[in-house]
């Protein structure tokens, strides 16, 4: 099938502002949008810039706005989006070149929620693992799946309004550690997420849940954090 691919282009060394370029490509319905971008870069215009790494939905490098909505380019098939495809960079982050955005504010927010395991207690008597029951694990199982692609955070109107907002990805990470029975820094994380630019700025829009390529129920996780904030129970 013939696919019309419209791509957001911006070269800071040449352009004052962005523009779109359109390419006509022969593609299969089962081709991925990432394949189309590779075709353009490999055969038509080598200056096209975009991030990609594993190309299998694991690394989260190629999160892009495809036909107006955030997706991973490597998990989006042509048949899912049709023959007319528009590819743009993620919203709310500075565009460095073409489809590449500056992820620094996103990772700065991520770091604020202490995204690492904290447990300073002595090891159990046998000196081995800190055990956890399947039920304890199930509470935060879903939020361990986050690949930090930023599709959720950059689909959030609150984040569009200001990058100081922690954003869904950071809150998902906070959920992953706060509800981990082995972790001991829940209070510190709750303090961070209950600040002005924390959880209160979630307006339950659900864009994040719909954008997540790992199908994490992000708004549900944020809802559980809100309840923990209100009740003080973790």
């Amino acid at each position: 099938m013939l696919v019309t691919l419209k791509i957001f282009r911006y070269n800071p060394e040449v352009d004052k502002t962005f523009h779109y370029e359109t390419y006509k490509l022969e593609a299969l319905e089962t081709d991925r949008v990432l394949d189309l971008l590779e075709m353009v870069k490999g055969h038509t215009d080598g200056t096209l810039s975009f991030r990609r790494s594993c190309a299998h939905g694991v690394c989260g490098s190629d999160a892009l706005r495809i036909n107006g909505r955030n997706h991973l380019a490597c998990k989006t098939l042509v048949r899912d989006v049709g023959a007319k495809i528009t590819v743009e960079p993620l919203l709310g982050l500075k565009v460095i070149k073409d489809l590449i955005v500056d992820m620094q504010p996103f990772f700065d927010n991520y770091k604020k929620v202490l995204p690492w395991f904290v447990n300073d207690s002595p090891l159990p008597a046998d000196g081995k693992e800190r055990l956890q029951s399947p039920e304890q694990r199930a509470i935060f199982d879903e939020t361990t799946k986050c690949i930090l692609c930023a599709a959720c955070t950059t689909s959030c109107p609150s984040f569009w309004g200001g990058e100081a907002y922690l954003g869904p990805a950071a809150l998902v990470t906070a959920h992953r550690f706060i509800f981990d029975s082995r972790d001991e820094a829940a209070d510190k994380r709750m303090h961070v997420i209950t600040e002005t630019d924390g959880i209160a700025r979630c307006h339950t829009v659900f864009n994040c849940t719909m954008a997540c390529p790992r199908e994490i129920e992000i708004t549900k996780a944020i809802g559980e954090l809100k309840m923990a904030m209100i009740t003080g129970k973790v």
Binding site: G68, L91, V95, S155, G161, V205, F206, T219
Partner: protein
Amino acid sequence: MGLKRNVSLGTGLKYQGGGPMLVFVLHRIGGLGMAIFVTIHLLASFMSARGIEGGAFLNSIYENWAFQVFIFFCALFHAINGLRITILDLWPRLIPYQREAIWIEWAVFLPIYAIAVFIIVRAGLGG
């Protein structure tokens, strides 16, 4: 170097968030509409009480049936959508059913609004 991060209103509105995004936008419009109504109402009352010219004109704006159709939409939609959000916030276990919640919201909103619009328009047109 690089483009600024600013997301314009137009760009944000073009995001294809579907039904949940639509109700979010309508919720904002509803809140804004009520703020405009309260502002006009307060201003009109103040001007009329002080005998400042223009108070009657402002009164005529929000007493107009077309404005009432708009403001009733704002108030009713904002209230029902706010109730949906409150319920989901208080019972996060219901969040996986958020799509159904939005359908229920429309099912509650549309008949009430339709009846209200019928009454307002009929009264407005002197029926």
